[in-house]
Symmetry: C2
Subunit: 104 residues, 2 copies
Amino acid sequence: MAQEKYLPHPAREEMRIEAVLRALADPVRLQLVREMDRIGAGVACGAIELPINKSTRTHHMRILREAGVTRVRPEGTARITELRREDLDTLYPGLLDGILAAKR
Amino acid sequence: MAQEKYLPHPAREEMRIEAVLRALADPVRLQLVREMDRIGAGVACGAIELPINKSTRTHHMRILREAGVTRVRPEGTARITELRREDLDTLYPGLLDGILAAKR
């Protein structure tokens, strides 16, 4: 729960569709989400290779987390990020799959 | 086709998921889309009541059209706007329904 304090996540009922869509409406963040979906399990920060620097990556990961698209949890000294698929599928059934189906 | 010239629409294959999500990630535009979905058929410009002025409405309708979310066609002297549901459902199956399912 300490984790929740310094890395805040919206509860499911606090999530807003506008924020979720804004978070997803960016090519880098879409790429991160596609990779997280492909990998399936949670991924360590930096495990997804993208031609962006660390602060840019941190910025994008924060937007995804704050919108409720991803959840970050500590695992030893690492931070593991995963898609909040159950929350997204419950609130907006079909949304995530529809986006992941996009060819571009 | 003259209509297409002065009110350009992307062809289905030109649509981009980022542009569609950006277009939808706004409370006013989401409201317009919800109302168009509720009404079902095409709606005349101004038929949807919103507390926004005409130029703001025109701006939002343009963003929806240019992203491929809506199609505008002339009908007599009116412009009729409708959701491009078939295009959206084909490219991003579930996306629109997932968004419309959102309580907020």
